[in-house]
């Protein structure tokens, strides 16, 4: 088992639950949230090391969730998910301190690679 604690946040329930199963098969300790409010509650209850966050969500947007994470939990690394490569929100998210952004649909290998890099960055911050 890896020592990787990840929170997946996306309003597409089927997407996020299946992705969580795939990450769990790879030894990642993973929880899911289907909206921004639920995500912030889960972070408060038990902060993960990395959050994988969809940008386009109803209610609290991905950018709003990112801003609150960076304000209250600066050591948590955030990987953004976006539908389109030239998304303005992805660029704004990177300026706000996101670790990386990935395009949907994802490559699981690429996601694992980015989570691994984000874990290293997180460890560097808390040590």
């Amino acid at each position: 088992m890896r020592d990787w604690k990840v929170l997946l946040v996306d309003d597409e329930e089927e997407f996020v639950s299946t992705l969580a199963e795939r990450l769990a098969l790879r030894g990642v300790e993973v929880r899911v949230a289907n909206n921004g409010k639920e995500a912030l509650q889960k972070i408060e209850d038990d902060p993960p090391r990395v959050v994988v966050l969809d940008l386009m969500m109803p209610g609290l947007s991905g950018l709003e969730v990112l801003a609150r994470i960076k304000r209250d939990y600066p050591a948590i690394e955030v990987i953004l998910l976006t539908g389109m490569a030239r998304s303005n929100e992805a660029g704004e998210g990177m300026r706000q301190g996101a670790f990386a952004y990935l395009m949907k649909p994802l490559s699981i290998e690429k996601l694992m690679e980015k989570i691994g890099e984000a874990m290293k960055q997180h460890t560097g911050k808390v040590d």
Binding site: T18, L19, R22, L25, M56, G83, R86, K104, P105, L106
Partner: protein
């Protein structure tokens, strides 16, 4: 009103392509999970394993095709966002080849964008430019036989230009006509002038048109 209609269609289409990507993402992860499980299963405990693996790989290929289509359609939909914008002609010909792809397939004609080695940018109505390029390609396809190739070449000479030229296939159905004899030619020229573009016949071995920034 026409610009508002185009903007409306663009917004609806852009939103729909986002939804399509979400659908494709769910299919991709579901197939990925099945592949993960098959990979963890011992060879002899799963009958028809190879057929499952092949079928899943085929679904993944189609997902990739769907993602490519929705990405291009999204970019195309965003061309109606602004009435005037800075457009790289290299990207414009790629988009045009995508927009004409299906019609070309029906005519059995190959479309070949030939970008310039450097960006060639102009200020133009992006949707208007796409309409002119689409109709130019359509005019050429109507005078070319199956098996022909249409190239959309970007160059930066005295002024930025796109040359759309046809190379006749091996078995033209009849003698090649000039695209300028098509009844739509004058209307198309007027539309181009409205965008500060000049539309002219291009010289060359085959039929061709040239769109030049005036």
């Amino acid at each position: 009103m026409e610009a508002e209609k185009a903007a409306f269609m663009g917004k609806v289409t852009a939103a729909a392509t986002h939804e399509m990507k979400n659908v494709l993402a769910i299919i991709k992860e579901s197939v990925g999970l099945m592949e993960d499980i098959i990979a963890m299963t011992k060879d002899d405990s799963l009958p028809h394993r190879d057929k499952f693996v092949r079928s899943l790989a085929r679904i993944m290929e189609q997902v990739a095709r769907g993602v490519d289509l929705s990405t291009r359609l999204n970019a195309f939909a965003h061309s109606s966002d602004e009435a005037r914008a800075r457009v790289d002609l290299n990207r414009a010909v790629e988009q045009s080849a995508f927009a004409c792809h299906r019609a070309a397939r029906l005519h059995k004609i190959t479309l070949k964008p030939v970008p310039c080695s450097e960006p060639v940018e102009i200020d133009v109505d992006p949707m208007g430019l796409q309409m002119v390029l689409f109709q130019c390609v359509d005019l050429l396809m109507n005078v070319l036989g199956s098996g022909s190739t249409v190239t959309l070449e970007v160059s930066k000479e005295a002024s930025p230009r796109i040359t759309i030229a046809g190379t006749e296939g091996t078995s033209p159905s009849e003698g090649v006509k000039s695209p300028a004899r098509d009844g739509r030619w004058e209307t198309l020229q007027t539309a181009a002038q409205g965008l500060n573009l000049v539309l002219e016949e291009a010289e060359g071995p085959g039929p061709g048109l040239r769109v030049v920034l005036s």
